[in-house]
């Protein structure tokens, strides 16, 4: 079990570094560290993330958007280890600026060759990037209804 975990951990670490570099830039670095390497099945896991030449002492020093992208990189790193047939993201793009929303949607398009993605969003850029849209409305007070939407009609 210990070897199996360490094996998976190394793969996730590598995925994390790859995804992180596509969401940030190719020169950015990040790492996943087992705080107690002698005891991998119990050990806490530390996340190190250094975007764009910055030297944050901990990820807590990063900005709201940088933290979100870092967490997304880790979640996608785990996903790549064992891709689930579908992946749902509920308003995860809310803290991101325009340039990062573009990168977020691009990497999702990559992964969507192997899995289905469902993106709940308020963001116009994300809406223009998906293949199809369902609109949820409450025309009758308190009662939800779903209709397929043509994006051009949303503008």
């Amino acid at each position: 079990a210990k070897t199996q975990f360490l094996d998976a951990f190394m793969k996730v670490k590598e995925n994390f570094q790859n995804v992180f570099r596509s969401l940030f830039t190719a020169d950015d670095t990040c790492d996943l560290v087992l705080l107690d390497p002698e005891n991998p099945l119990e050990s806490d896991i530390d996340i190190i993330a250094k975007p764009k030449g910055k030297r944050p002492q901990t990820i807590n020093q990063l900005s709201g958007g940088e933290k979100t992208l870092t967490a997304i990189s880790l979640l996608f790193a785990l996903y790549l280890l064992k891709p689930a047939p579908f992946c749902i993201l509920d308003e995860v793009d809310a803290p991101l600026d325009d340039a990062n929303i573009h990168k977020y949607n691009d990497i999702i398009k990559q992964f969507a060759k192997d899995s289905q993605f469902i993106l709940v969003t308020h963001n116009k850029q994300t809406m223009s990037s998906v293949d199809s849209i369902y609109g949820v409305t409450m025309q009758e007070q308190g009662v939800s209804k779903v209709v397929p939407v043509n994006f051009s009609s949303l503008n």
């Binding site: 996340i47 979640l75 398009k109 469902i118 994300t126 809406m127 849209i133 409450m138």
Partner: protein, 165 residues
Amino acid sequence: MRLVSLEIKGFKSFAEKTTINFNDSVTGVVGPNGSGKSNVVDAIRWVLGEQKTTVLRSEKMENVIFNGTKNRKASALAEVYLTFENNKNLLPTEYHTVTISRHYYRNGESEYKLNNVTCRLKDITGLFLDTGISSDSYAIIELGMVNDILNDKDNSRRKLFEQSA
């Protein structure tokens, strides 16, 4: 395995039977605040067996049943059906199309079905074992989860790793 469709009736704000078809690789869900988008996500977690009422933003399981408005009375039962196509034979079943469903009555009675045959929750979780699909899957992501990973709240990073490794 491919998602085909989701059907919701009597679950949270979906008083009427509602169907969403998943034909594409990337599907967007949009709408005003409070319209029911996250309720759709909750419905998927719920039909996959979510038992934690906090994750479902409810005090008790009964609160997932449509609780009525001034023009409509509350529902007696909540039902969600999720249909998959077993196109890569990932699911250990000979069926080409698999529909899992969950039904919850206001009196507390609860039922799970697989292709309309009553079964137990463990039959459903057994079916999806090793596919990465479960109610607490790392594949259902919202901002609260992003925060939990960043704070490592309740050892959430460890738990995520154990799920996928």
